[in-house]
Symmetry: C3
Subunit: 336 residues, 3 copies
């Protein structure tokens, strides 16, 4: 019997398979690559006349959204349906009662309803991780965005986009532009790019929107868009979260666009075949101009398509990882 | 290779099969009859113990409702489920951002999620047509009501109701009563009745609720309910959209009922076996009295049943039309 | 042909099978036992890798919630999905129009959409019964809670919990504690316990929260928690409906907890292996303290699991009862 390794990350089972999907932090390159390969195969399913495989038949996927996001919820719903799972969606308000209790009791109740996976969206950083630590062993937790911390399926769909259009990560320069400070997407992308071997990761933002401690990600920091974009292969624009801009960190939308908005002129500083990416929904004329968003270098809509495939890959890999762990536990039980 | 006919209506593919379903305008009699025949066959499915056929298995039907309508959304949801499709429903608010952008970007995103059909409800006339013009070729658009313009599935379920109860349209007198001016149902019905060969179509309304240009539909106009109802075979009452009556076009609900409400006494002016129809939900005592709505001549609830069958017919015919067009495009590609 | 027995309860068909599930009132012990046995078998389905049986394939279950309850709706949705039914959920507001009309017209419309079962939640006592009296013969009505009247699936899941943990009802003392006056759960539990042969049913509540006419249920009434709990085998705590406490029936939450809250100390008065039950969601520190709710005697989360199985049993038994009645009616028709 393999002894349980206390330092093995929460996300992996004893065989190193994915069991929860919380953050890209600590996931090995092989696993990310396997995930991209699996997503590639699901892309083919999405293009079929019958867009359905029976992998999760009879499984219950529960979308537990403590923070509303129609867009992300819909993509997870579609991914689960195409794997033949049953889906229920709950919008959980965190306002009425003390948050900790609600989260905990809601969790225990959903477990008791024999849900197999919780797709969790929460405004607090670390919420998905907290849930994974406390959930019963047979449930897999998928992080669909937690506070400023992580949005790992977005990160992986961005990686799939880059790999499908650029082949590999080995010789690429990738720039991430915008509100790095508040962006869980930025964090997930920096981690993924680094793990997958991207040699030149740049972040471009005004000083006020840069978090401390960026060095740990091995990135180069630019405050000038023009300098940062020079000769990059990929530009990942972040969405300007207007509702988070209250604190006077920026003078105005117009000012932001003037300094950090992606225009055709500025894009010309990147390589001629540079990709333009954005997690959507885009604020036209704020972080990106329409000519670029809808232009020939934009792969923004491909990202949406790849997003379904990545979510199918995550759901099915976590389900396999859970099943394998159950088997391991059973075998261990029998040998004792 | 057949050259693309620029004047061929948007709704039909190169073989004349239904590809989108936007309006009854321009659809030939043969196609409407085929639709009614198909709906007839689906009525039989709705009466079975297992109300499900696998025609749309692995297809994704997306309800995109820019204007809320639980009732219509539910019937499309049921229709799609009984065809074994996967269904997702989105309520899209048009308030927050500029409408054009939202509509367009929402559209592109849903396309990218590999939805096969959009069932669209929108407050603006022409919205469904606009979307069909701009959607990618593999998606079918179904109009579930756009402004004052059209509500073609309602029109066809009314035609199915008439045909099932009266056999054919050839010798019928049909009166449409109420707020013609604001009614997309009225417009769809006039078009369908005319195409299907109904020789006597009457509209009955106060002068203030009659649109200009009614002559084009080949209808006879009455402002007196008693005169208009005389010897008709079918009475189609329209719903009084109270929220649209702000502009002082009518003195009061009571006054409307006194002049244009359908009572047993007035119904006696029609043929003894005249059908009473209404798109629902009814305003009892405003446009119709309960004794008539619940009386022996009323087929209001049959309309609801037929509505599911008609929506199943529309969804499956559009799906076939899309598939056939794809095949045509492929064959054309191979011959070039 | 068997003559229709006017006194046969609405819930049963001519063979005595369940046809609607409205209240535990009048249901014979054999039927409740059959329901518990059926639920037992569905518990096994919930534990499988593929949690799905095809019993209700092609059937439409419609959740009609006139009163919102995410929790109850979700458990019925899961139960229906695991039986392979199609599910649609409607939240019906009762505010806009006169209630009677809305209820009636909504009902007729759903019938016409060929729904097979309505799961009804309503704030008015008797609403489910009223609907069952007026619905067309082929639709089964399931009461998911109506006013203060009944919540029979909750009652039966409580019985399943007791039977699975205590084996039978024959020698048990069961105490129901809290707001008996406003609780449909209390009423359903008293009826079920009595029918199933529990010899000692106690209710414990302040005088102001005791309804009149409790004698008919054959229960013993206590106003002191300490006295009432002595040597019981099962403690069923009720949820304090804070929103119903406006009328000054109780001084404060703190006061309620001081007098009627279940603490470890008080639980020690019951038998050492006494079960602690609660319909959820719990108000920690109001009717129950966390140490008890999460303690070794608590079966609160098991109740949630059993709830899905009981709802699967109710849905499938009602569907069989409806089908059998249809067959009886058909046979009768053929013999006339």
């Amino acid at each position: 019997m393999t002894p349980i390794d206390a330092k093995r990350p929460l996300q992996l089972n004893e065989n190193g398979q994915l069991r929860h999907f919380l953050s890209l932090d600590g996931l090995p390159r092989e696993l990310l690559t396997e995930l991209l390969d699996t997503a590639d195969s699901f892309l083919e399913v999405g293009a079929r006349a019958v867009k359905k495989v029976p992998l999760l038949r009879g499984k219950t996927v529960c979308n537990v959204f403590f923070e509303n996001s129609t867009r992300t919820r819909t993509t997870f719903e579609l991914a689960a349906q195409r794997l033949s799972a049953d889906v229920i969606s709950l919008n959980v308000s965190t306002s009425s009662t003390s948050k900790g209790e609600t989260l905990f009791d809601t969790l225990r109740n959903l477990e008791a309803m024999a849900a197999d996976m919780f797709v969790v969206r929460h405004a607090d950083s670390g919420a998905a991780h907290f849930i994974a630590e406390h959930v019963c062993p047979q449930v897999a937790i998928i992080n669909a965005g937690d506070g400023r911390h992580a949005h790992p399926t977005q990160g992986m769909l961005d990686m799939l986009t880059i790999r499908r259009h650029k082949g590999s990560f080995e010789n690429l320069s990738v720039a991430i532009v915008g509100d790095i400070l508040h962006s869980r997407v930025a964090r997930s992308n920096m981690l993924a790019l680094r793990t997958l071997g991207c040699p030149d990761i740049r972040v471009i933002a005004p000083q006020t929107l840069l978090p401390v401690g960026l060095e740990q990600y091995g990135v180069r920091v630019f405050t000038s868009l023009s300098e940062g974009l020079r000769d990059v292969d990929v530009v990942i624009m972040l969405r300007l979260q207007k509702e988070r801009m209250q604190g006077g960190l920026l003078p105005s939308e117009g000012e932001f666009f003037r300094l950090y908005g992606l225009t055709e002129q500025r894009l010309a500083l990147a390589k001629p075949d540079a990709l333009v990416m954005h997690p959507g929904p885009i604020n036209r004329g704020v972080e990106i101009e329409s000519a670029v968003a809808d232009g020939p270098q934009s792969v923004i809509l491909n990202q949406v398509t790849y997003g379904i495939a990545v979510r199918m890959a995550v759901l099915s890999m976590c389900m396999s990882g859970q099943a394998a762990q159950r088997q391991l536990n059973q075998d261990a039980g029998e040998h004792n």
